[in-house]
């Protein structure tokens, strides 16, 4: 993986957002509701085109060379991106074929095992509880061994036990960069190498090392005081 | 991007149309079969042809929009379709008058050109609800261009299909002036056609200039009064923007 650089600015939702992230590092994105955190992730995932500025993901400029980054990104948004009528396994098979995953069978079994979904894998997705659904979505995100993980509040709907499982699945790994949107300030900041705090207007309140930003300051940003 | 109001174009359009209609009334002979009423031909056919060519022009502009991603082509395609739809209304009205006068009915279903034109017209009328149904401006522009390309390909195919359909059932009863116009008629027709094409282009240019200055005005207002000022204008007409970068 090459060095990862993203500058981005847009007038309306996000403006003047500039940051860089090296391979293997983690960036946590915090900000109040409507600050454009999810928009930022969707842009990085090549799902939304930037309206201005320069964005480079995995060495590919967006939107011009988005195809070069596709298939190397694992995106976990608010929607699980799974078909409700298909089983968990069929959904994973579908995504594996889209991504051209080589040893799909082994990889799927391993992920389902680790996510604790092996027994539910043959059930249609519509029967799953919200927490199970989130785990299935995480399996989909990781299936093709992405070099960049984009996680939008990965712990939603998860109980304590599941959180541990998920943290292990989505945790730091060799050569895998992560961008995490979270509302859990303490946990999020402790996890991350760098932090990006957005204001409600979509501009940057803080960008830099996560260790410098105290949870208190972060809270102040969220509440619009800083 | 900004569009300026044309100066010479309107003058040319007026000159050509005046000369054209002067020729129609004082120089060109009456048609042997249809008499005086046939003279509406010099109004009706140029209008209809310009409308159809305008749709094709819009398709080309839409292709340029999709290829370049430059919103100015979307504005151009929108204006072309808009003016052509207005020309389409005029063509249908003049066509109906002609039909009433020469065939005794306001509308004749077995005249293939009329029917094809009506279908094309109806298709382009859906351009407005389509734009209206998509809120995101950028996506609206892109989808509108895809529509304009599809519809542009549709225009000739539709004429082929309808013409075939009609000749199978009814041999062409109304042998109009086809099969060689007399030279005087042809010359007059060409002058009228050129005038109408110039009028089409003039109207497009004025519409573009109006859009462009309206957009400039609202930008200035926003600069003066802050971001909160509501932007005037319709939700479906594309807004010309300044070139970025």
């Amino acid at each position: 993986m090459r060095d990862l650089r993203r500058d981005y600015n847009e007038r309306a939702v996000l403006r003047g957002v500039t940051f860089e992230l090296d391979p293997g590092r983690t960036l946590v994105v915090i900000g109040p509701n409507g600050a454009g955190k999810s928009t930022l992730l969707r842009i990085l995932a090549t799902l939304l085109r930037p309206s201005g500025g320069e964005v480079e993901v995995l060495g590919a400029e967006l939107p011009a060379r988005a195809w070069a980054a596709r298939g190397r990104i694992g995106y976990l948004g608010h929607e699980p991106l799974l078909y409700r009528e298909l089983t968990v396994r069929e959904n994973l098979e579908f995504n594996a074929r889209l991504h051209g995953v080589d040893d799909a069978e082994r990889r799927m079994s391993e992920l389902l095992d680790r996510a604790g979904l092996a027994r539910r894998a043959t059930e249609p997705v519509r029967n799953l509880s919200a927490g199970m659904l989130q785990r299935a979505a995480i399996c989909r995100t990781l299936l093709h061994g992405p070099e960049l993980l984009l996680l939008d509040e990965p712990r939603t709907h998860l109980d304590l036990g599941a959180t541990a499982v998920v943290d292990e699945l989505l945790g730091p790994a060799e050569g895998r960069a992560r961008v995490i949107v979270t509302h859990d300030l303490e946990g999020g900041l402790a996890d991350a190498d760098s932090a990006l705090a957005l204001r409600a207007a979509g501009d940057v309140a803080y960008v830099g090392a996560a260790s410098v930003l105290s949870p208190g300051d972060a809270r102040a940003i969220l509440e619009g005081r800083l | 991007m900004s569009f300026r109001a044309p100066r010479i174009l309107p003058v040319l359009a007026v000159v050509f149309l005046t000369v054209g209609f002067g020729l129609v009334f004082f120089w060109t002979p009456n048609d042997a079969d249809q008499g005086f009423i046939q003279k509406i031909f010099y109004l009706h056919v140029p209008i209809a042809t310009c409308a159809l060519i305008g749709f094709i022009v819009a398709a080309v502009q839409a292709i340029l929009h999709l290829r370049s991603g430059d919103p100015k082509w979307d504005v151009r395609a929108y204006v072309s379709i808009h003016i052509s739809v207005i020309f389409g209304v005029a063509a249908l009205v003049t066509g109906a008058i002609w039909a009433k006068a020469s065939w005794g009915a306001w509308w004749v279903w077995d005249e293939p050109t009329l029917v094809s034109f009506l279908i094309v017209f109806l298709l382009y009328c859906t351009y407005y609800p389509l734009r209206y149904a998509i809120e995101d401006r950028e996506r609206q522009a892109r989808y509108a261009s895809v529509f304009a390309v599809m519809a542009g390909a549709f225009v000739p195919l539709n004429f082929i299909a309808v013409r075939l359909a009609e000749t199978l059932i009814h041999p062409r009863v109304f042998a109009t002036s086809e099969g060689g116009l007399p030279p005087k008629m042809l010359f007059t027709f060409l002058v009228c056609f050129a005038g109408m094409a110039l009028l089409w282009q003039t109207l497009c240019s004025f519409e573009l200039a109006a859009k462009s200055s309206r957009a400039k005005l609202s930008r200035l207002r926003r600069a003066l009064e802050g971001d909160d000022v509501a932007v005037a204008g319709s939700r479906i007409a594309p807004v010309p923007t300044e070139a970025r970068g």
Binding site: I73, L98 | V146, M150, A151, L164
Partner: protein, 222 residues
């Protein structure tokens, strides 16, 4: 071609499981035929009236399927999942054209025999009619996949699709009706003008498959 096959297989599997499209189309056509039977008050139909009844029913049944063909992609994140993968947008378009073709063909396997039982005295024209319908299906599918993709991303999905489809499909209907009319004559099929109509349908299919192939990329971006 693997993404193409994956999407196609996924759609067919979902359809087999939910039985959402084809049975609804078949039911719709049966009801429509009953309506025509009562409305026209005739024991049998032939020629242009028969072709009109059959093709109008096919057209409106097709709109049912076209309206639905992208709904799962939109509502269950299929568009996003596909765009996250290194997949050409045209694979999606071609897969959906095939899905619609298969739905329409399956539907016609049910609807045409019902139509023949209800209205026709002779079945001699049916083999050639099948060919005409297949060509018409390709046109319906090529246009349908494009329009459906536009409509599903707009606010008034159920309104926009038929509004755009009906005028765009006029040439398909004219071509198919023109070819079907002599096939459905009471005293056996005639092939007068058949080649000309087939040529119109084929030309339409080719042009709109190419247009769809060329512009589909732009419908998938966001």
């Amino acid at each position: 071609m693997s993404p193409f096959r994956a999407i196609l297989a996924k759609d067919l599997r979902t359809e087999l499981r939910t039985l959402e499209s084809v049975p609804a189309m078949a039911l719709f056509s049966a009801t429509t035929f009953v309506l025509f039977r009562f409305g026209l008050d005739r024991d049998s139909l032939e020629g242009s009236l028969a072709a009109g009844v059959l093709l109008a029913t096919v057209l409106f049944a097709a709109i049912l399927a076209i309206n639905r063909v992208f709904v799962t992609e939109r509502e269950q994140g299929g568009f996003d999942a596909i765009r996250l993968a290194p997949v050409d947008a045209t694979s999606l378009y071609l897969a959906k054209v095939c899905v619609l073709m298969l739905y329409l063909a399956a539907f016609e396997l049910i609807a045409v025999p019902v139509f023949a039982i209800f209205f026709l005295d002779t079945a001699g024209g049916l083999p050639a009619l099948a060919g005409v319908l297949l060509l018409a299906d390709l046109g319906l599918a090529a246009i349908g996949a494009l329009v459906s993709s536009i409509a599903v991303n707009s606010r008034a999905r159920d309104l926009i699709a038929p509004l755009l489809l009906l005028p765009l499909l006029v040439p398909v209907m004219i071509g198919a009706a023109g070819a079907a009319e002599p096939l459905l004559l009471a005293d056996g099929p005639s092939y007068e003008g058949f080649g000309k109509w087939i040529a119109v349908l084929a030309l339409y299919d080719v042009v709109f498959c190419l247009v769809g192939y060329a512009v589909y990329d732009f419908l998938l971006e966001d």
